[in-house]
């Protein structure tokens, strides 16, 4: 029994020492609720917010919901209890839950939503990439590169999510103006992951060996499809494009594995999110919608993005 | 065959223990044990449960380390860290419960950890060949490629011994080797021990079965409460002397008198045939206050028969009548409610919940009586248990885990549980298996009390003396067939064995 006591108390002491470092100061405190740090896109934003917070001497508390909205509600409740002055909210789950925003509102804490926004309870400001426009752009790029002809396969993201829906809309708009491009296959993935992309891509090539274009709705999906294409040993080239501008995606563009991707301005969005949060704390006006343009990235312009993500 | 070979004492000492001491916490389990084992001799390690036999075997085989004292093995200091070390030195412990992997073949089990390889692949042919040689030498006629699952306990034991021999073991420690063997199997085991002994293999034979020890051992060492109380240089020591050594007082194996049975028939078994053909066409009846013995060798279908009567296993044909009414077959709950209870043969896996308290174990099977409305608060269980513990003299506290009890007390718990129901038919399958001598008398006493309370009692036992000493009548089974029913005064071990092996 005595050893049982001692280990528990060691654990408690460890926590104690952690706490002293983050003890209360007069600095502004911002909570960052991330959907899922396993995803590179979210992790990029988190790193950018953290960097910016350090520069501006802001206390930043990061929580990670591991993609589960119920967990995220708990975490935002904890942030409110902790007494943060503003919350940057990157919603988890298929569509953003409005509950966290409403809870913050009740506590008079401003919320900056990033990437997704709750339709029933919008945050004070919403920062995101204009997904419809950016997917349209990559669609136009595909149309131009292929000369308007080809068999298109799409590895979709998680069904029901806002990015998936918007990217489908934009890409379909572009393809509508390019009737020679035919969608022969499309299938949703569960986790937006590379292994999803690989498995789905392989099955698609099995059924339609004449595929000439792959669109992965995220870079990881496109990279998986690229690997499947490589293994399939086809007798014709396949044009593979992704979306997001993950580090891995950008490197693949440089190598030529991917023809193009749409680079989202994650660093800028992170900085903007923190700045907006600070503005809201200072009661300065912030526009309700801050849509960012994604940048079409090909081999020609990829190098600077790898050195310094926009 | 002589146990008193005069040349024995001149043989070189193989293993020598000096002043071995071991304590678990404050509890000293071995205190200054000296023991010599010579080449080619069988030394009996005798003692009641808890005397320290198992701990001593564990120390010799590297499972435990002594706190004090030293060991010499073949004249060199010997201090095994693990059982592996002991094996490499040539000492193997054959457990009471076999430790073979059921879904590997016999050969694989024998060579586990050192399977012969050839070109990076298992050399199955060589393995089977080598296994076969050793099995043949032990007189075991079974293919080494056969899976261990489904082998009889006796056969598994032989495989263990064969495995130890392939490892070059020169000292085998046999822990209760005959606990689960029938008579013929025991004879076979003894024949092998004698043969191996003549080849120079030494044995430490751990047991509390005195008859066996007299048959097979050269010398006898008796432990009691962690002390070495006697070393007899010959096996021809009177049984009561050994018993006195073991329990510290003189006891005789006396069976309590059982009163005459009543007239009214309580249980009637008609033409009973097992669904899995373990027994066929069994007919008998038991009267109130009668003890009905069932004898036979292992595999005769005794356990299967009483399980079917108690509603545990299905039947194909026939019926069981309780006080003239047909009992629904294959329904334990119904049998218990109507008053037929069974104390199973394998106490640890069928009788008691080892990790639960004595109180919970006693309440089990009595829920319907203790809790007619379904409410069973712990206090009720506690009072119920206290009363039973006192009535049966269980040495334990209601809250104690049953695992901590000796075999005899565990058995009392199972008997007490059923006694509380005041059943009409009380069946006990091998009631004293694994229970030491001192505690057996208490179990016999209980059985006599059951009969005195007008219950119909059925006792299944491999111990002939026990069946004969307790029963009014004895039924003999062989190969699932009923060979006959002998009255107490017409039965003796000779005619029972003749029928059982016919």
């Amino acid at each position: 029994m005595s050893s049982f006591y001692s280990v528990r108390s060691i654990l408690a002491c460890g926590l104690l020492s952690c706490a002293i470092m983050g003890a209360a100061q007069a600095k502004p405190m911002v909570g960052l609720a991330v959907a899922n740090l396993q995803a590179d896109f979210f992790n990029q934003i988190k790193q950018s917010v953290a960097k910016e917070a350090k520069e501006k001497d802001v206390d930043l508390i990061v929580v990670d919901a591991h993609g589960d909205s119920a967990t995220q509600v708990n975490q935002i409740q904890d942030l409110i209890t902790r007494g943060v002055n503003a919350i940057i909210y990157i919603p988890a789950g298929a569509t953003a839950a409005g509950v966290p925003v409403r809870m913050a509102e009740l506590a008079h804490i401003p919320v900056v939503a990033v990437d997704r926004n709750a339709p029933d309870a919008p945050a004070q400001t919403f920062i995101a990439t204009d997904s419809v426009a950016s997917a349209r752009k990559i669609g136009e790029f595909v149309c131009e590169k292929t000369g308007g002809k080809g068999q298109v396969a799409i590895v979709q993201g998680q069904t029901g999510t806002t990015p998936e829906r918007d990217r489908a809309k934009g890409f379909d708009e572009a393809l509508a103006k390019c009737p020679g491009l035919k969608i022969v296959a499309q299938q949703p993935s569960q986790m937006w992951s590379q292994s999803d992309g690989f498995n789905i891509g392989q099955d698609m090539l099995q059924r339609h060996p004449d595929i000439t274009v792959f669109f992965g709705r995220a870079d990881a999906l496109a990279l998986g499809a690229a690997q499947a294409t490589k293994i399939a040993n086809l007798d014709h080239p396949v044009l593979i494009v992704g979306h997001d501008g993950d580090v891995a995606g950008l490197k693949a563009v440089q190598k030529g594995t991917l023809a193009a991707t749409m680079t989202q301005k994650t660093q800028f969005m992170g900085k903007l999110a923190l700045d907006s949060a600070l503005d809201l704390i200072a009661k300065k006006p912030v526009p309700a919608l801050q849509l960012q343009e994604a940048i079409l990235t090909t081999k020609e312009n990829v190098a600077p993005f790898i050195a310094q993500h926009p | 065959m002589s146990n008193e070979d005069p040349s024995l004492s001149f043989r070189p000492v193989r293993l020598s223990l000096r002043g071995i001491q071991k304590a678990f916490g404050a509890n000293i389990v071995l205190d200054g044990i000296n023991l010599d084992v010579r080449e080619g001799e069988v030394v009996a390690l005798l003692g009641e449960n808890g005397a320290g036999k198992s701990t001593l075997s564990s120390i010799i085989s590297g499972l435990h380390h002594p706190d004090k004292g030293e060991m010499l093995w073949e004249s060199h200091p010997y201090a095994p860290d693990t059982p592996g070390d002991a094996l490499r030195s040539g000492i193997a412990l054959i457990h009471q419960e076999m430790k073979l992997v059921p879904d590997l073949s016999i050969a694989e089990n024998m060579f586990i950890g050192r399977i012969p390889m050839r070109h990076g692949r298992v050399d199955r042919a060589a393995m089977v060949r080598r296994a076969e040689v050793h099995l043949k030498a032990l007189g075991l006629n079974v293919s080494p490629a056969r899976m261990v699952r489904g082998l009889s306990i006796a056969a598994q034991q032989q495989v263990e011994i064969a495995k130890a021999l392939t490892l070059g073991a020169r000292l085998l420690i046999l822990d209760e080797p005959t606990a689960a063997l029938g008579m013929a199997e025991t004879d076979n085991l003894f024949a092998q021990i004698r043969r191996l002994r003549s080849e120079g293999v030494s044995f430490i034979y751990v047991s509390h079965r005195l008859e066996e020890i007299a048959q097979i051992c050269d010398r006898i060492t008796v432990l009691r409460d962690g002390n070495l109380v006697a070393t007899h240089e010959s096996a021809s020591v009177p049984v009561n002397v050994l018993l006195r050594d073991m329990v510290g007082r003189s006891i005789d194996r006396i069976f309590p008198p059982v009163s005459d049975p009543g007239e009214e028939e309580v249980l009637r078994v008609e033409n009973l045939t097992s669904a899995s053909d373990d027994f066929r066409n069994i007919n008998f009846s038991v009267k109130a206050g009668e003890v009905f013995g069932i004898a036979g060798i292992v595999g005769a279908g005794r356990t299967e028969l009483v399980r079917a009567i108690a509603g545990i296993d299905p039947i194909r044909d026939g019926q069981v009548l309780l006080e003239g009414d047909i009992l629904q077959p294959d329904n334990v709950g119904e049998a218990i409610r109507r008053g037929i209870v069974l104390v199973p043969e394998d106490r640890k896996s069928q009788g008691v919940l080892l990790d639960q308290s004595i109180a919970d174990n006693l309440a089990l099977g009595n829920y319907d009586r203790l809790a007619p409305n379904g409410w069973l608060p712990p206090s009720k269980i506690g009072h119920f248990a206290k009363d039973l513990i006192q009535r049966l003299g269980v040495k334990g506290d209601p809250e104690q885990k049953t695992r901590a009890l000796s075999g005899g007390n565990q058995q009392k718990v199972v008997i007490a549980r059923w006694l509380a129901r005041e059943p009409k038919v009380f069946i006990l399958d091998e009631p004293t298996r694994g229970i030491d001598m001192g505690a057996r008398a208490a179990i016999y006493e209980l059985i006599a009390r059951l009969a005195a309370n007008r219950m119909a009692v059925i006792v299944v036992s491999s111990d002939l003396e026990e069946v004969l000493g307790l029963s009014h009548r004895v039924m003999v089974l062989a190969g699932g067939r009923q060979m006959g029913i002998l009255p107490r005064n017409g039965a003796n071990s000779v005619n029972i064995m003749e029928m059982a092996t016919a």
Partner: protein
């Protein structure tokens, strides 16, 4: 009355039992078997109170209880399953199926919400029934049977609305999880307290509850003692499924939406809570008091680490270590 009778019990005095009679009563108290985890929970609360001024407040205490209800309700069912020596890997998926049925029936079929609510919970019970039948009739190991259900229920949850989420529940319904009556209790927390008490009473004071421990201790011993092992096994899995259904209703009220990806990985959290609470995965040991303590240990850890502002990556490490520490020391304590 019962106190006096134990003191004057002639058996206790005349036989001279070495341990005092009071130990018997103490160990059968509400917290029997849960003392170790409870000490751990207490120390955690102390530690976090030192670390964060926001931690030890009524408000945050209520938050933790709120946050623990879903896991808590799942863990109640899991306790029964683990006591009989089984495991239920399907609860997270069954929760997802129930929550989707709750959203889907009113949205696509116009079923009134008050009817959809019990129906969705029944769907959970139905999944549990299938689990129970697979274990008892088809003789599948519980791990495999519930692994199957884990996959099937998740698939069905996605099929209902083709992977789309359902948003917007009646105001009164979401109020159950958010409005604190008397400033203290939400209805969902009240529900959890009622369920936990009922489960505690069942396992502790009902003969059927005691039978579950016997089954977990040894199926064969239980069967030979006349316990209807098959029937009770099915009952336990049905209860686990129903509780997953109830947990789904709590989640729907709390999130004001239904998502087919709900409850992903919750089965492992529920198992962890039960095990931290001192139950044995080999069956026969476990208690509601222990499980509730285990649930709050997990809840307090998450909440406290968030309040202290520890990085999410370090949180995962800390929680993993906490599980290992709790279980290791419980095992050592039992052995000694």
């Amino acid at each position: 009355m019962s106190n006096r009778s134990s003191v004057t019990d002639p058996a206790a005095t005349s036989t001279g039992i070495s341990s005092p009679p009071s130990t018997y009563r103490d160990r059968k108290s509400f917290l029997s078997g849960a003392q170790g985890p409870l000490i751990g929970l207490f120390l955690l609360i102390m530690g976090f109170s030192f670390c964060s001024s926001a931690f030890f407040t009524l408000r945050n205490g209520l938050n933790i209880i709120d946050q623990s209800t879903i896991l808590g309700i799942l863990a109640l069912g899991m306790t029964g399953v683990i006591i009989i020596g089984g495991i239920d890997l399907s609860v997270g998926s069954v929760l997802a199926l129930s929550i989707m049925v709750l959203g889907w029936l009113p949205q696509d079929f116009g079923v009134p919400f008050w009817l959809a609510l019990p129906l969705s919970i029944l769907v959970g019970g139905l999944c549990g029934l299938v689990n129970g039948l697979l274990v008892t009739r088809a003789k599948l190991p519980a791990f495999i049977a519930t692994l199957t259900m884990m996959s099937v229920a998740r698939g069905l949850a996605n099929i209902t609305t083709d992977g789309q989420q359902v948003v917007g529940y009646p105001e009164w319904f979401t109020g159950l999880a958010t409005e604190r009556y008397l400033g203290v209790l939400t209805v969902t927390v009240g529900l959890f307290i009622v369920l936990a008490t009922a489960a505690w009473v069942f396992l502790k004071f009902r003969a059927t509850g005691r039978s579950l421990y016997a089954i977990g201790g040894s199926v064969e011993v239980a069967r030979l003692a006349g316990i209807q092992v098959g029937k009770l096994t099915i009952l336990v899995y049905v209860a686990s499924g129903l509780l997953a259904g109830i947990a789904s209703a709590v989640m729907a009220a709390r999130l004001d939406s239904s998502q087919p990806s709900s409850g992903l990985g919750y089965e492992l959290d529920a198992i962890a809570a039960v095990v931290i609470g001192g139950a044995s995965l080999s069956g026969g040991i476990g208690s509601i008091a222990g499980t509730v303590t285990g649930v709050f240990i997990i809840g307090v850890l998450h909440n406290g680490l968030n309040l202290v502002g520890i990085s999410p990556f370090i949180q995962q490490v800390v929680i993993g270590i906490a599980i290992a520490v709790a279980v290791t020391f419980d095992t050592l304590r039992r052995r000694s």
